[in-house]
């Protein structure tokens, strides 16, 4: 049977190609394959349901116990989009995402360049502090951070969101690990040529680091899009409300359920697009980031 032919090339895992001779193992392999399909269905079903249920109108949603809508009409999405002014929230979110991504690359990259390559006297203390920050959860200092932001008068602007992305220990570590593997000869050679430290960064280090810059950019963009606690605290009562803040505000408003469902759909579309384009980079970097350490 052709289903089992492919097991001849199986390189990893407990079940080896020679086990497939036994019909019991054949049976188990089929079960495992089915279990994988079920896992993916469970992973995708909730999002798919939200999308499909968004086509229902409010009566249908409240009264009929069916999973899927009677009719599919894309205009309902347009209606909610316009009525809730989602264009504005999208634009605000994009501003937040763009600024955060740039800050995440620039500030964390420069700090990591100092820690991984320049290594001035005393850099080890900073490395230690950054490592510890990795384990200090941001949420526990949220209150005092918010108080500080208000004190310096940055509330109501995008600045705190952008700059906060520039102080991320995880990104610093990703950059640092990558920079440490760059060929030292190149950097030493340009030092001898009299290049300044900053010039070496943007002429040599940065162009060689495109893969890790991409990874950090993807992570930072996703994180900035999904973040809601800091944006909620800083932007809540302004005209700079982001998509996530708007979603959170549904908690205390009486918008009808199908509009909320459609808003959820709007909020997950950009990450899905990003994921579809960069799935390889994303899944690989999760693994390498999780294991190396």
């Amino acid at each position: 049977m052709s289903f089992f032919k492919k097991y001849r090339d199986k390189q990893d895992g407990t079940i080896r190609f020679y086990d497939i001779k036994s019909s019991w193992i054949k049976f188990i392999s089929i079960l495992i394959f089915l279990a994988c399909i079920i896992m993916v269905v469970i992973a995708i079903f909730p999002a798919l349901w939200v999308f499909l249920a968004s086509f229902k109108d409010i009566q249908e949603f409240r009264r009929t116990p069916t999973l899927f809508p009677n009719k599919y009409n894309f205009n309902v999405f347009l209606k909610t989009w316009n009525e809730l002014h989602f264009l504005k929230y999208y634009l605000n979110s994009f501003i937040a995402v763009a600024g955060s991504t740039i800050c995440a690359i620039f500030f964390n990259g420069l700090l990591a360049y100092g820690l991984a390559i320049l290594k001035p006297k005393g850099y080890k203390i900073v490395t230690g502090l950054v490592m510890w920050s990795l384990l200090i959860p941001a949420t526990t200092s949220m209150v005092s951070l918010f108080v500080n932001i208000t004190r310096v008068g940055l509330d109501g602007t995008f600045l705190p969101l952008w700059l906060a992305a520039g102080a991320n220990a995880f990104y610093v570590l990703l950059f640092k690990q990558f920079f440490e593997q760059l060929p030292k000869e190149l950097i030493e050679a340009s030092e001898l040529d009299g290049c300044s430290n900053f010039k070496i960064f943007y002429k040599i280090v940065f162009p060689l680091s495109v893969p890790i810059v991409m990874v950090v950019a993807i992570f930072a963009a996703c994180a900035a899009w999904s973040d809601f606690l800091l944006p909620y605290l800083v932007l809540s009562n302004t005209d700079k409300v982001t998509v996530m803040v708007r979603l959170f505000q549904f908690r205390t408003s009486n918008t009808n359920d199908v509009d909320v469902l459609r808003a959820i759909v709007f909020s997950i579309i950009p990450p899905i697009i990003l994921f579809t384009i960069f799935q390889k980079q994303i899944t690989q970097s999760v693994v390498s980031a999780g294991i190396k350490g």
Partner: protein
């Protein structure tokens, strides 16, 4: 010689200048707020302005608050359930995907999908799935099996396990990918040698595959406990801590004090208490990974 020395000082200065912007941001967004929390927790305040030094009074107020014990108890329940549900599921998922040869990369991408969903959208979405009454998604599925509708999040005994289930749905995929990489890097000769010695596949799984991800599991377990400890927006959005405080978490209590009661000193005190517990947990983590560089995951 002298020239070299002065150029190395210049090198150091310019290096520190390059790091300075990042350091300032770290100081403002990460390090200073930690100290500020401690300071804030020792004062009374009007809004964001500190008034009088009151010592540990805020801490006593936090500890005596009627919501404190439920929140602590729930936090342990969250941890307990996430050990039961959240720890094993990624290992099982990783095993299954490792042991199959068909559509592997599709499965990998598929199970990772929930990870890219924004956290807030995820919990709102699951709130709808758990809707009580006949029109909730899970109740529709149950009624197809002839089972009566269930209250889900509205029944106190079920709130926490269901919230943990939601968290697991979102994060299991990325953890599974990490385990898969661990399983994939096991030397195949081990399995072959075991087979020659007569080990059945099940025995090979128990004695080779599982032990080789043990270290990884230990690390991820502690990281998971640390992250569950800070659970905030799942109960905040899905149940608002209810029914009757059955799902309120300590971080949610911080949120309530700070941004609903505007009592920043009390919120800061509770933050400090949580930070101390987390530092202790982190120390355990370092001990468990035996002085290795800190490992981390992306969740």
């Amino acid at each position: 010689m002298r020239e070299k020395k002065s150029s190395s000082i210049l090198h150091s200065i310019s290096a520190w200048l390059i790091m300075l912007p990042g350091l300032i941001l770290f100081a403002f967004f990460v390090w200073e707020p930690l100290l500020e929390s401690i300071r804030l927790s020792l004062y009374t305040a009007k809004g964001i302005h500190l008034m009088d030094f009151v010592g540990l009074k805020n801490y006593i107020a936090v500890l005596q608050h009627p919501d404190f014990l439920p929140a602590i108890r729930n936090t342990f329940l969250y941890t307990f359930w996430s050990l039961i549900i959240g720890f094993l599921i990624p290992i099982i998922m990783a095993t299954f995907i490792t042991e199959t040869v068909h559509m592997k990369s599709f499965f990998r991408v598929g199970v990772y999908f929930p990870n890219i969903m924004p956290g807030l959208a995820t919990v709102m979405m699951w709130g709808y799935l758990f809707r009580p009454g006949k029109t909730g998604v899970f109740n529709i599925l149950l009624s197809a099996l002839g089972i009566q509708p269930f209250d889900w999040l509205a029944s106190p005994a079920w709130t926490i396990p269901l919230i943990v289930l939601t968290m697991t749905w979102k994060s299991a995929g990325s953890t599974a990918l990490i385990y898969m990489a661990g399983m994939g890097s096991i030397n195949p000769e081990l399995y072959e040698a075991a087979t020659i010695d007569g080990a059945t596949p099940w025995k090979r799984f128990l004695h080779i595959s599982l032990p080789s991800i043990f270290g990884l599991g230990k690390t991820l377990l502690i990281l998971q406990i640390i992250s569950v400890f800070q659970i905030l927006y799942e109960p905040l959005v899905m149940t608002n801590g209810g029914p009757n405080n059955a799902s309120i978490s300590v971080m949610q209590l911080v949120f309530r004090y700070a941004f609903e009661d505007y009592n920043y000193p009390m919120a800061a005190s509770l933050s400090v208490i949580i930070s101390i517990i987390l530092v202790l947990l982190t120390a355990v983590y370092f001990k468990a990974t035996k002085g290795k560089k800190p490992e981390y995951s992306t969740n």
